[in-house]
């Protein structure tokens, strides 16, 4: 009798990365290397005002004196920062309307299922007249190609544009808030980003406005040997609400590519920002060749009373993920949330988590982290909950679960708690489980094929996080997990 009927991991580790194609397009790319003159050139290409050029140069000088952090639970060979190109953009002037966009670029987004025509919904989402459309900012390498639904949003007073455009149209807001949450010298990668940042998204929601649609920025790295250093700034004024989504993909290339973004969120009194990410950067092949280094600084500041910032992330891509979307809870009664699913397969490494810093009174934070490791990957949760002396009656609840698939992967949990208050309530729960042979056999006995069974079990494990995602993304996230897990059965 054949009892070894379960396919071996090797049979099935043939993960398909559907977004791995290259767009053949003429680009203007700066030569590799980083110096003051490169920083000045990037600033000049964007026709930036002097204050911003100086801002970048200051960041560059600070960065030059800094060292790469090495505390994360990841391993990689030294990065040669002089071998990377810091700017690449499709040739020609920035298109004024969609008709002027290179058809090759339009096809790229069509293939990725990202609608640049305003009447279309995200691919994979059933057309539903009740469902409001999604406004898209499409960032290709270092520049924003187009932003949709600007007119509709303008009627509501919502500003949704690329950050380079915001520097021209809303300099006072950019000047006031950029770097106010993540200072230039916050960390090595944030300093690098501050020096060379290219396009990213700027959002401003005025007082009392509920943004009428989901806002999506889709980041695409296309050029080889090029890093992407986008910068995103979202400001929700008093009593406003915005839900923002972020997606990202890159071609399959043999060499590692660096992605070092900075995202800053500011929520004023009674405002709420919901920020959702589905990160699907190229993870490298099954032997660990290639893939994106995703070294990102994301931080939100609950500046106003009763403000609320919620991060939801589904991380399936990248060779290495180094990312801690955090919240500074300054306003009294403010609320921070972090919901995360991080899946690693093959040789992927993830060190991800969050920091919740309680500063104001009656502040609350919730952390739900789900790590899934398959293949020979390594998955670490790293979290810091800090209760400052002024944070009267602060509360945190952390739940941190790890799921292992197979016997060669690893899961680590590094929770840090620093409390300076007697009345703080900090709860931490952690579990580690395996997809068991018994669970798989139950599914198969009921007629469910092994791959389907594993993806169902993993989806169940992630349920608490997925239900935080907007519908458009929940569908995509669930599908992505299925693809990313292909071959993980053993």
């Amino acid at each position: 009798m054949t009892t070894d009927t379960t396919p071996t991991p090797k049979d099935l580790v043939q993960r398909e990365y559907e977004a791995g194609f290259v767009t053949d397009i003429d680009s203007v790319t700066l030569p590799p290397g980083l110096s003051e003159s490169i920083v000045r050139r990037i600033s000049a290409i964007n026709s930036e005002p002097d204050w911003l050029t100086e801002w970048r140069l200051d960041a560059f000088r600070r960065w030059s004196a800094m060292k790469e952090p090495r505390w994360a639970h990841v391993k990689f060979p030294p990065i040669d920062y002089q071998a990377i190109s810091y700017f690449s953009a499709p040739k020609g002037d920035k298109p004024k309307s969609l008709d002027e966009v290179d058809p090759e670029l339009l096809r790229t987004y069509e293939k990725l299922g990202i609608p640049l025509h305003e009447q279309k919904a995200l691919a994979g989402v059933e057309e539903d007249p009740e469902q409001s459309p999604v406004a898209v900012d499409a960032v290709f390498d270092s520049v924003s190609i187009t932003t949709t639904f600007k007119g509709t949003l303008r009627e509501h007073g919502v500003v949704f544009c690329s950050i380079s455009e915001a520097v021209r149209t809303h300099p006072e807001l950019v000047k006031k808030y950029m770097g106010s949450v993540v200072p230039k010298s916050d960390n090595f990668y944030a300093a690098l980003n501050s020096a060379v940042f290219s396009d990213g998204t700027f959002v401003y929601v005025p007082e009392g406005v509920r943004c009428p649609m989901e806002l999506l920025t889709y980041f695409r790295i296309n050029a080889a040997n090029t890093g992407q250093f986008e910068r995103t700034l979202i400001i929700a004024d008093k009593g406003s609400y915005v839900s923002y989504l972020e997606g990202c993909t890159a071609p399959m290339r043999d060499e590692n590519q660096l992605h070092a973004a900075v995202v800053e969120l500011i929520a004023l009194d009674d405002a709420k920002i919901k920020y959702s990410t589905v990160q699907n950067w190229y993870p490298g092949d099954e032997s660990g060749e290639g893939g994106i280094y995703n070294f990102v600084t994301k931080r939100g500041s609950c500046r106003g009373a009763r403000s609320h910032i919620s991060w939801t992330q589904v991380e399936t891509g990248s060779a290495i993920t180094w990312k801690y979307p955090s919240v500074l809870l300054r306003g009294d009664g403010s609320k921070g949330e972090f919901y995360s699913v991080a899946l690693t397969n093959n040789f992927q490494q993830a060190d991800t988590g969050t920091k919740m810093t309680h500063i104001g009174r009656n502040t609350t934070s919730t952390i739900v982290s789900k790590g899934i490791s398959a293949g020979q990957s390594s998955n670490a949760y790293r979290g810091l909950v800090r209760m400052n002396p002024g944070a009267k009656n602060a509360r945190n609840h952390t739940q941190c679960d790890s799921l292992l698939i197979g016997s060669k992967c690893a899961a680590h949990t590094f929770p840090y708690i620093e409390s300076r208050r007697q009345d703080a309530v900090v709860e931490h729960e952690a579990t580690t489980t395996k997809v068991s042979d018994d669970q798989l056999f139950l599914c198969r006995q009921r007629g469910i094929a092994p791959e389907k069974a594993v993806s169902m079990i993993v989806n169940g494990f992630c349920r608490e996080v997925f239900r935080e995602l907007p519908m458009e993304f929940a569908v995509e996230a669930s599908k992505l997990l299925e693809v990313s897990l292909e071959g993980a059965v053993g």
């Binding site: 009927t5 198969r444 006995q445 009921r446 007629g447 389907k452 169940g460």
Partner: protein
């Protein structure tokens, strides 16, 4: 022709022979009860038939509807109509019972070339079945076996059986851990499942289940072989005399 035809079956677990030449024929419309002391190989039989890893058929054969079971993957055995109600149902946290059952039913329909059921059709049927087993509708929204009581887990196995409507149901100690009320509900579910075209193999330690389900045959499994077969009265005899007199030693 027999639905299940087992001849001279030898099964080992961890290189230890547990079944040592077992013969059994089950025809459509029949209920067989398999009894026997602990360690006699009852669960080994059902697990080997369902294709669980680690249960190796060394000799002999098991034909299900004339197909050699060893040629089928566990999920293919399920598609062919073989169902195993587990002795210790495992939890799948976060996967709701209804989602699990729909995925299961749809997998079966796909093999038959049928379309997936709509959620509405599926739920209507499922709610009816749950009601027959006196399960609260909320039960369907909970994770599979997640913090279920022992009785709920067993009733859930019967619910899955009714949903999939198999041709052969292997029930591995479905009666253990049930209080008398739950036992009657489970027995009712099994009796309603019976038709002239399907068959049931009940593995049980106790006669008490057989007060509610009358078997056509009772087999006593001792040290990997069927030591004695008879009709329902054999179970009563075992109840008073135990297994010792069948050991031959």
């Amino acid at each position: 022709m027999s639905l299940l035809d087992i001849s001279r079956l030898v099964v080992s677990v961890d290189d230890k022979e547990i079944l040592k030449g077992l013969d059994l024929q089950v025809n459509p419309g029949e209920v067989h009860a398999i009894m026997g002391p602990n360690g006699s190989g009852k669960s080994t039989l059902t697990n080997a038939l369902a294709g669980r890893d680690g249960y190796t058929i060394k000799h002999g054969q098991a034909l299900f509807d004339s197909t050699d079971l060893t040629e089928l993957e566990p999920e293919e055995r399920s598609h062919a109509g073989l169902f195993l109600a587990f002795q210790y149902p495992v939890e799948i946290p976060g996967v709701t019972n209804m989602e699990f059952l729909k995925t299961s039913v749809d997998s079966h329909r796909e093999i038959k070339g049928l379309q997936e059921l709509t959620a509405v059709e599926f739920m209507r049927n499922l709610r009816n079945l749950a009601k027959r087993l006196e399960l609260n509708p909320d039960f369907l929204k909970r994770g599979v076996n997640e913090s279920f009581s022992g009785g709920e887990k067993k009733r859930n196995e019967i619910l899955q059986m009714l949903c999939l409507n198999p041709r052969l149901a292997l029930l591995d100690e479905t009666d253990s851990g049930l209080d008398i009320d739950a036992l009657q509900i489970v027995a009712k579910g099994i009796n309603e499942f019976r038709t002239s075209t399907n068959a049931v193999v009940l593995v049980t330690h106790y006669q008490r289940l057989l007060n509610y389900i009358t078997p056509d045959f009772v087999h006593v499994l001792i040290e990997g072989r069927i030591a004695k077969s008879g009709d329902a009265t054999l179970a009563l005899e075992l109840e008073t005399k135990g297994y010792g007199w069948l050991n031959g030693s």
